[in-house]
Symmetry: C2
Subunit: 293 residues, 2 copies
């Protein structure tokens, strides 16, 4: 049995991703991304699961920054989870939407359900909480004609029922999570279908000039290596200096990647491979491809 750390608390989307990825392990909740990654680095836990992109619970730039600047942990897997927000109420609640007097949730979840709240629950007061899990806990504790916005796992964790499913404004909202580990011993995961393999690298440019990025991308383009993500980010060392996070849609190999690296280093770029890993699409409890207990 291994120790799996994640960005908590219970009932959050990271918690949901962890349960979709891992089965028979010990799960430990951390309150911030750095705390979770530090715990992996120190060997207190075997793997860590933290959001990489588009989450509602963390500043996601922080994950990449921490992996580049503070810890030396490769990404060993990526998990993509649909973000489904439901309206959760106490079991004693027996009315319809018009009875909801207050809605509790994290401000980002509230923002994601803005159209729904605006059109369907216009009279409900909105109360902010520090996470979607915490909102569900509070609604269970207080009771009455109040609701939380959160996922199905939050409902189960805190004894609430789903009054209305999928109340988020955008139908295809996903969050990507990174699984990182220190040792090379594989940690047992649930049997999930591998969608593809990716390699994530960071590229720092020697200086900022017109066409620099175009030149960097040429190294991938003429090799027909497809990029599934590119993002420029200011360096922590000051304004105006940039680095790039690039996801390449293939595993690290002994020919193409070393060729790219040699070319970019010749241009004065600094490269770091953050990981080469399988990607999994997680299903939510309702879509039955994976269970979230």
């Amino acid at each position: 049995m291994s120790k799996v750390g994640y960005l908590g608390p219970k009932g959050t989307f990271t918690h949901q991703a962890v349960h979709a990825l891992f089965d028979q392990h010990e799960f430990l909740s951390y309150r911030t991304i750095p705390e979770c990654l530090d715990a992996v680095e120190k060997g207190e836990i075997d793997v860590g699961v933290v959001p990489l992109e588009n989450t509602i619970e963390g500043t996601v730039h922080l994950t990449i920054d921490y992996l580049i600047h503070h810890v030396d942990l490769p990404i060993v897997a990526e998990a993509d989870l649909p973000i489904e927000q439901h309206l959760l109420v106490p079991h004693s609640f027996d009315g319809d939407l018009s009875k909801v007097e207050a809605i509790y949730s994290h401000s980002h979840a509230v923002a994601q359900c803005h159209q729904f709240i605006h059109h369907q629950c216009e009279r409900a007061e909105v109360e902010y909480s520090t996470s979607t899990g915490e909102a569900a806990r509070m609604v269970n504790e207080k009771g009455g004609n109040i609701a939380a916005i959160g996922n199905r796992q939050a409902a189960e964790e805190y004894g609430l029922k789903v009054l209305r499913e999928n109340i988020h404004d955008y139908p295809n909202n996903h969050t990507r999570f990174a699984v990182v580990q220190k040792g090379s011993e594989p940690i047992e995961m649930r049997e999930l279908r591998e969608v593809n393999r990716k390699t994530t690298i960071s590229v720092t440019l020697p200086s900022d000039y017109a066409g620099a990025l175009h030149q960097v991308l040429s190294a991938f383009s003429w090799r027909r290596m497809n990029l599934s993500k590119i993002e420029s980010r200011p360096m922590k060392t000051g304004l105006g200096n940039y680095f790039f996070i690039i996801d390449v849609d293939q595993p690290y190999d002994g020919v193409l990647f070393p060729g790219v690296q040699a070319e970019l280093q010749a241009l004065g770029c600094d490269l770091k491979v953050l990981g080469t890993y399988p990607c999994f699409h997680l299903a939510t409890a309702s879509s039955k491809e994976a269970t979230t207990d």
Copy 2:
């Protein structure tokens, strides 16, 4: 006098940016990015100020998504604010760091000050709040040997003093804010030095193929148009379809930009200009380039 809306509450970094940008206006706080942008769209307020990148208070993807999908509001200015986190205590507090028993803040602010808390305040309990402004309000209300993490404006707003300055782990942490408005009537701003002018456009690719992005960037590169930011983002319509947000380091003109647009449209791309606008670097109260009253 115009009405300026911003992502609140008081004492947050967006609030700080608003006061550095505008002087004699009426300020209205909104609780989510969509609420603020809707208010501009409906004409309830004249301008809105919302975070664009790297903020600790909002899901920033939401701003761009909302500008693309929900409202038709050009970005008319960009403001870049250094994020300085301070440790704030009640005026009655008369000890040193070792006396701090609890620290209140938003989880993202706590994460940004992770090294400081870990090494300097190891015994302090961390309590989470929904914003840095709310943390300052709570510390003022409760009193005692407790502290909030937040900015100088939060200290002034809620009657706290700064016990320790600049406790954030990374020295050059900035947040970019967008100023949007509906009408074309210019809103009076403070006199600020314009750093440069930029144009933000979104480009949607007709299909996902190796080298597509490289081809898109060629249109800018051979015209020697410098890009200061590029970010690929999945489309809301499904996984695997991407669009790009591109910041070009020059104002929209009658020759180069129409040329780029014509070329990219010939490739089947869909383009939208989100704004062409001046950029300002805001200073914090301590650095004296602008006051935040």
